[in-house]
């Protein structure tokens, strides 16, 4: 058993409990032991306690990313559970939920168990597998959902593609309704998408690239709103990119329908203009959209229509991304830049308070998954992230822990340097040059 740990003098943020106060945080036996004067006095006088000075830094619940791609099993040249988990803790994430579109996909118990076990062996971020909705993600036949949930799946999704068949989506929602997990929908009508490679609009017209209209996303969400209403099941819309989608979610929630949503950092700071020059690091799915969509997403994060902030971390090899735009794969990495981009996009311009941002990256994603967590209440698992919100740093993809270097943020100066990530009280990441900062 490790010695007790005290994070001294940081700004402790626990949005789940409305806490925002400069004080010490005590950790013992892998759990949160208490804060400041609320910590047991025996602990406070324990001479063996390790004291880490975090003055000037934010101390918050370990960040949670509800949407990553770890590529293992099957595409280990792009990422492994180990490299992905290392990238996660480097980005301040204590927990990541990984999508099942591996090769083979996570559609049976052994594979779901494998990912869980491998995550534990690696011992960095918590790795929560999301299982497939349909066998082989083929959209034909449902997986054994309860078995997969028992094996540790925290949600089901056919991410990478939508659940196209409305009947199957209906049954999946009925079967999960009482399991307390969402069906995470990659909302995209395959016919409307066609062979599109970027947002349909003036930029795609000018560049001669096949467009993907915003309604390719929204029509599926419109359908799913009706199915969620019918079944009482919970639809969670992955990587929302379009203003029209946000409107649909907002209206549905006003009617009491169980639908939640997430977006990813790039949709808040970039538009389809980023594709200029046929830059494959700006090729993602759904695509970067218009300024109007971007504004609508920020508003939806503000008012909570989009519950949580994810990354859609999608690593690819350099070789994959090097070439013409049409044949490059969709997706960018995000774990190591997400906090910085969110701070820049939402907190610095005043769209969201810092506690508001932390809520959407901790307690809210847990809530979407129907789980408790993402809080620093005494007795909780000591998953903690410490970061300096004012420290600015420059994105260098070559320094990523992820195998993926595919980022549109190369060379960007971002705020928010992660200093320390704890999972279950263990230090799983500590910034190298932070000796002066962390004493």
């Amino acid at each position: 058993m490790t010695n007790p740990l005290c994070l001294r003098g940081g700004r402790v943020l626990d949005p789940a409990r409305g806490i925002d106060r400069v004080q010490d945080l005590w950790i013992e036996g892998g759990k949160i032991a208490g804060w400041g004067e609320d910590a047991p006095s025996a602990l406070r006088s324990n001479p063996k306690a390790e004291i880490v000075d975090v003055r000037g830094a934010v101390v918050c619940p370990g960040l949670v990313d509800i949407h990553v791609h770890l590529r293992e099993p099957g595409q280990e040249d792009r990422e492994t559970i180990e490299t992905g988990a290392r990238a996660a803790v480097r980005g301040g994430f204590a927990t990541v939920a990984c999508m099942p579109n591996t090769d083979p996909p996570l559609d049976d118990r052994p594979r779901v168990e494998y990912v869980r076990r491998r995550g534990l062996e690696v011992g960095l971020a918590r790795v929560l597998p999301i299982a497939a909705v349909t066998k082989g993600q083929q959209g034909m036949e449902l997986t054994e959902i309860e078995d997969l949930v028992e094996a540790g799946a925290v949600a089901i999704s056919d991410d990478g593609k939508p659940v196209r068949n409305a009947e199957l989506m209906r049954r999946a929602l009925e079967l999960t309704r009482d399991l307390g997990i969402p069906v995470i929908q990659h909302a995209e009508d395959p016919d409307l998408k066609g062979v599109g490679v970027m947002h349909e609009g003036w930029v795609s017209t000018r560049m001669g690239l096949k467009g993907i209209p915003d309604i390719a996303e929204s029509v599926i969400v419109a359908r799913d709103v009706l199915l969620a209403e019918l079944t009482g099941g919970h639809v969670h819309v992955a990587h929302v990119s379009a203003a029209k989608t946000v409107d649909l979610i907002r209206q549905a929630r006003a009617r009491g329908i169980r639908i939640t949503g997430e977006t990813a950092p790039h949709y808040l700071v970039l538009t389809d203009e980023a594709v200029e020059g046929y830059d494959t690091s700006a090729k993602m799915n759904p695509p970067l959209r218009s300024e109007r969509d971007r504004d609508a997403l920020i508003e939806a994060v503000q008012d909570g229509t989009l519950d949580c902030l994810a990354t859609d971390h999608a690593p690819h090899t350099d070789i994959d991304k090097d070439g013409d735009f049409d044949s490059a794969p969709f997706g960018i990495v995000g774990l190591e830049t997400a906090l910085g981009v969110y701070l820049k996009a939402l907190v610095e311009p005043g769209h969201l308070t810092l506690p508001g941002l932390i809520a959407r990256m901790t307690v809210e994603p847990y809530r979407v998954l129907g789980r408790r967590g993402g809080t620093l209440e005494p007795g909780a698992e000591a998953d903690v992230t410490v970061f300096d919100p004012s420290h600015r740093w420059t994105v260098r993809a070559s320094e990523f822990a992820s195998k993926g270097r595919n980022t549109p943020f190369e060379g960007w100066e971002l705020p928010g340097r992660v200093l320390l990530t704890l999972v279950g009280g263990r230090t799983v990441f500590r910034a190298e040059t932070s000796e002066a900062t962390l004493r």
Binding site: W202, L209, D322, G323
Partner: protein, 333 residues
Amino acid sequence: MTARKDLLGLEDLSADEIVTILDNARTFREVLDRPIPKVPSLRGMTAANLFFEPSTRTRLSFELAEKRLSADTVNFQTSGSSVSKGETLRDTARNIEAMGIHLVVIRHQASGAPHYLARHLEAGVINAGDGTHEHPTQGLLDIYTMREQRGRIAGLRVAIVGDVMHSRVARSNMWGLVKLGAEVVIAGPPTMMPAEVERFGVSVARSVDEAIEGADVVNILRIQLERQCAGLYPSLREYARVYGVTAERIRRAKPDVTVMHPGPMNRGVEIAQDVADGEHSVILQQVTNGVAVRMAVLYLLSRREPSGDVAESETPSVEATKNHDEPTLSPRR
């Protein structure tokens, strides 16, 4: 123009640069009428023609232009069905660099492929048609032909008819014509109109008849209903009926209208037989002018110093040779 390494599209060119190319093309057009239609301007230089997508017409035109300028040429052709197109492009760039090639002409099925090569190569890159993006030399030869026929571009009413969405020719035409002050009206099936197309500075007519009304020039686009536009339009028969340019429709234009088509034509579909071969058609002149325009582009790009800088004073035109009939060219700025 001389400061440029590449010609990737007409979007990037200023009106002055376009005029410079057209003026040079006119000089080369005269060369082509001579008994020995050859100048030594590109002697010692090597041009590579990379055609990832078959196009006999454009490839021959470029090859001919290169030969008329005395360049050495190498040709590379592929079916475009290789396993990884991206890898092909990357390897191609490496090979080109290793071979010490000065100018690269590329035709590719992916929009932006020439931009990729331009970024990775010291050599000058000429876009000979990329995906559904641009076909700048076709755009230039169309504009050249219009200027030749009508004496000017500014103020002309040009109708572009057909599948604008998939047409790289249409994009290059629109950029170039609008920059030079033409009034451009487009018409075609609503399913083949790209999003926000008005932002090119053109207007969209509701019918072919409306577009052709009072036009100085009618430029008819090739339709590929079986391939590219499958699902976007019911049938060739229906297309011919609603969007086909017939002699009757042409009568709505100016009496001396100029009729153009980039070829190859689907006779009886987008263009009626009697229009294709009619008195207003300049389709064969377009082909001849294409060689002259490509000579001008190759010539102007070859004037760039290998380092990428341009020596302003060093524009020696076509080098003096024993043949005193050689024209003297100096690219204007």
